[in-house]
Symmetry: C2
Subunit: 293 residues, 2 copies
């Protein structure tokens, strides 16, 4: 009898959205209702468990501020952000173009425009390195003038926006323009693994489930070029701790790059860096816009 | 390739909860992950849709205060509250005991203890009526001394706690004790349909989906007696508007009661009410505690 009632209940809720004028919203809410009810039916939460879930969601909302997005963090640690990102970047060509990964919560300020070769480590307290490569179209054609938005945390694992009183604004950030042959190069410090914020409800969830909050060392990129689909991605430092247990599930094998120790005095002079130095080299390969002929 | 990645992603998230010491929490999170990911896979939300969902959840959390629970309201309009309530009250005997329905957000204050026959309509601005019946055990045995917590909105559709400056505290509320034969009776006014709060994100959702916010006229009850499982329920006024489209899906047929116009001078005198009067009569039937022999 209860089963019969609950089945009718689910259909009644789905039907209640029949009058939604936006067909896509109607589709999303119907699917949400079915999946949410299936979850409740499968797990049969007690009233106390339901109240605990309401409390958790409320606390997550209350933890959000202008500079902190705890619901994005929740989406991240449940793998939902990565799932949505991956579904949207699927152009059936993941072996030919650079794979995407999550944007993350720290792309919240404009990166300063910098000249190729500039150092984005404004403090200079990390291990110096060079990052270089080319932006290419899917067929290997270089993309001159491609834009490269770059951001990373400092060696202690904090972004400039998290430490406005300690780090200069724009530390670890740069907006670069590829040269006439699609090449880019800049200096920075080798990034470190760092924990996502743990002082909110999401931190409590990780604690209760015995999960560590760390992300492996990485640098964020958004690469874009005319006539091409932009890619939002990271490069991860090969050998970094937590590569196999990223708290937000963002690691894809193709994005793990060697920051090789390089002993090459003439290359060091070219990059204006002390020899020997760490050097990450990789190309960013963009897909053509779907609309392009 | 994306499909392969996303399948592995779901398993990776589920596996990340393997270290959860609380086995029930582990089970809930594993199931939540699978259902949430299935929803995302089925609907393939764009990044903009995902951002809109994050914004909606954040706004819902921010709308919560000490006297308002917008996440409970969201759970209500998605039928989740009713589903959880029904699953928990399923004792396989729904045809023999009084069915349950949602608690709702307005049982937030203690009901004043009142004598049998008292009028819970302290203002006297509605259509007077009598509510009477018996509290019984499943086999029909009366339950003397059973407790009956009752609450309802005023004729304009507001609970006392929503209008602390207009209604006297305890208006529409009463805590009654059944007499030696399990009987209860009290006076009130016939309740009216009313809208759930629409000035928050849940109201926006109803608006966007063309759903009305009304609940059919009802009176809330929690009935309890020694050795029995308490029941949280409503009675609905037969013939009320919105009985077939309750905004929170709480109507069960067995809970719809006739508030019959009664022309009986001696009964009116007994209840201390003007003849003729509206009279709702029904029994509340409780199940034995599972632990009882």
């Amino acid at each position: 009898m209860t089963t019969e009632f609950t089945t009718r209940l689910t259909e009644a809720v789905v039907d209640s959205f029949d009058g939604t004028s936006d067909a896509r919203l109607r589709e999303l809410l119907a699917s949400l209702t079915r999946h949410l009810h299936a979850f409740v039916r499968d797990t049969e939460p007690t009233m106390a468990e339901w109240e605990r879930a309401i409390y958790f969601l409320t606390a997550t909302g209350r933890a959000c501020t202008d500079t902190r997005q705890e619901f994005v963090l929740l989406s991240d640690v449940l793998g939902v952000s990565m799932l949505v990102e991956t579904i949207n970047s699927d152009r059936g060509t993941a072996d030919e173009v650079t794979e995407s990964t999550v944007l993350g919560p720290f792309h919240m300020t404009e990166s300063p425009v910098r000249a190729l070769g500039a150092n984005i480590d404004l403090v200079g307290d990390g291990e110096p390195c060079v990052v270089s490569g080319r932006v290419l179209s899917r067929d290997g054609t270089p993309l001159p003038g491609a834009a490269l938005d770059v951001w990373q945390a400092n060696p202690e694992g904090f972004y400039d926006v998290q430490q406005p009183d300690i780090q200069p604004a724009g530390n670890g950030r740069g907006l670069f323009t590829a040269d006439g042959e699609g090449r880019f190069w800049f200096r920075t410090c080798v990034p470190s693994p760092y924990p996502i914020p743990t002082d909110g409800p999401v931190g409590d969830l990780l604690e209760a489930t015995g999960r560590h909050p760390y992300r492996p060392a990485h640098i964020h990129f958004i690469a874009s070029a005319e006539g091409h689909t932009p890619v939002t991605t990271h490069i991860f430092v090969a050998g970094s701790d937590h590569l196999d247990s990223d708290a937000v599930f963002a690691v894809k094998e193709s994005l793990v790059k060697n920051f090789a120790v390089t002993d090459d005095p003439s290359l060091a002079a070219e990059f204006d860096i002390t020899n020997p130095f760490r050097h990450a080299r990789f190309d960013l390969v963009l897909d053509l816009d779907a609309e392009q002929p």
